[in-house]
């Protein structure tokens, strides 16, 4: 059908006379439909114009009517935003359900073996055993999830200390001038496209860690979780530092004054008063950062590898949910194989996790807000 439409539009040549004739018919139908549409449009515009024009008079409350229109327009925009979100989630859910018709929920969420590619190659001898055992054994997402979490944990281990400390520095110690230099510099980091971080991870960080491993006698995979997680950590530093900075600056000055007035040093004030007061907000910032980290794709695609290893060893290569989705959906695939559908199940899982994290983050920072009116 798509072919026919394309022929009619003149994008491609008809392969045979039947097709050509059919395409001609379709083209004619489209042309007359276009004409009909133009005429209808003109008619509707005329009717609209004359109705409104006839109503125009100094007594007409045109301003009120325009305001009402604007109100509806804004409302509609909000509805569109919400509807598209719902639509995306629904289509995700729909495909995921189709997947779970083939593969049981239990196998997916608790299976410890992930190899969607082999499951579809019955001729392959290496995969033959698995295929006989059924495709179910190959869609266990635990190793993929484990890889995702490992990378996210490494990223947070890099980003939380650096981001938090730099936020403490900019909000509590830096003079106005230093602050005006440091903050924008950090925010430049946030503007670097993730694909740039990706090749930094793949071409610089990963070999660096491998060589470092050689020096200390460790066997570091050339696509280590360490490299991907480390670079991802660098990516979210500005995210954490700028959110934390906002949270820390939002702690009322009166609390600091109170602490100083009791004879606290600067450090005591920060550790014992400012940070505890900012704690819920900081937790919120960290949760948002985690949800960024597990949803991040480009860096891990380029640096983390594709083998679904069940490991918590950061020196090995792991794979993540996002990498697997990319693998499953790029290239030539039939669109409704189990393999493709599994990408939707993964996407759905990822979505639910980040959603929960974001809700938790929101609740945490709202609690901070309530505490100070």
């Amino acid at each position: 059908m798509a072919q026919l439409v394309n022929i009619a539009a003149g994008y491609i040549k008809a392969p045979d006379a039947v097709m050509a004739a059919q395409a001609e018919l379709l083209r004619a139908a489209q042309a007359s439909a276009d004409r009909a549409r133009s005429l209808t449009l003109a008619a509707v515009m005329c009717v609209g114009f004359f109705y409104a024009f006839w109503r125009v008079s100094p007594e007409l409350r045109a301003r009120v009517l325009c305001e009402a229109f604007l109100r509806r327009l804004f409302f509609l925009s909000a509805v569109v935003a919400i509807l598209t979100t719902i639509g995306i989630v629904a289509s995700l859910l729909f495909e995921a359900v189709r997947f779970f018709r083939e593969i049981s929920l239990f196998d997916f969420f608790f299976g410890t073996h992930w190899s969607p590619m082999t499951a579809l190659r019955p001729g392959d001898t290496a995969a033959a055993d698995e295929f006989v055992a059924g495709s179910s054994g190959s869609f266990g997402m635990v190793p993929v999830m484990a890889g995702t979490l490992l990378v996210a944990v490494i990223a947070m281990a890099v980003a939380v200390p650096i981001g938090l400390f730099s936020a403490i520095y900019t909000s509590e110690f830096a003079s106005r001038r230093v602050r005006n230099i440091v903050k924008p510099t950090l925010e430049v980091l946030a503007g670097v496209p993730t694909v740039v971080y990706g090749f930094f991870a793949a071409l610089t960080a990963a070999p660096f860690f491998r060589d470092l491993g050689l020096v200390v006698g460790l066997d570091v995979s050339s696509q280590s979780a360490l490299a991907a997680g480390g670079v991802m950590g660098i990516m979210i530093i500005p995210f954490i530092s700028s959110l934390s900075d906002d949270v820390i600056t939002a702690v009322p000055q009166s609390l600091r004054d109170g602490a100083y007035g009791l004879g606290s040093t600067r450090g005591e004030t920060i550790i014992r008063v400012v940070l505890p007061a900012a704690f819920p907000g900081l937790v919120g910032a960290f949760l948002l950062a985690i949800s960024r980290a597990i949803g991040e794709t480009m860096i891990v695609v380029m640096a983390a590898g594709v083998a679904a290893n069940m490991t918590i060893n950061p020196l090995e290569s792991v794979t993540t949910v996002t990498v697997q989705i990319v693998m499953l959906l790029t290239g030539d695939n039939e669109f409704d194989s189990v393999k493709t559908l599994s990408a939707f199940a993964l996407g759905m899982t990822l979505f639910v996790i980040t959603l929960l994290l974001n809700v938790a983050a929101l609740t945490a920072s709202r609690r901070l807000g309530q505490r100070y009116e």
């Binding site: 549409r37 449009l41 114009f49 125009v56 007594e59 325009c66």
Partner: protein
């Protein structure tokens, strides 16, 4: 015919022109009426312009959207039906 001057684009352009035109016609009309009847209009003149332009544009846009989602798929499916009919005929 170049894509730029395709009939569909002309319709689109005409719509925009119509909207502007109606804006000026409407502001002109209300100004004249206000002078004639020696009253002050309820709203600024431009609101009457927006009001009429909206009446020209909004129904047209809605119609075009409906057409896009309803009429075009109908045509293609009709063609599809014809096609299947043709294919099932013995050749």
């Amino acid at each position: 015919m170049s894509d730029f001057l395709s009939p569909n684009f002309l319709v689109f352009a005409a719509t925009i022109v119509a909207a502007f035109l109606s804006f000026y016609l409407a502001t002109g009309r209300v100004r004249k009426q206000a002078i004639a009847s020696q009253t002050k209009s309820h709203s600024l003149n431009q609101y009457y312009g927006f009001y009429v332009s909206l009446w020209v544009l909004v129904p047209a846009i809605l119609l075009a959207l409906i057409w896009m989602f309803a009429a075009d798929p109908m045509l293609t499916s009709a063609a599809k039906a014809r096609m299947e009919c043709r294919l099932s005929e013995p050749t």
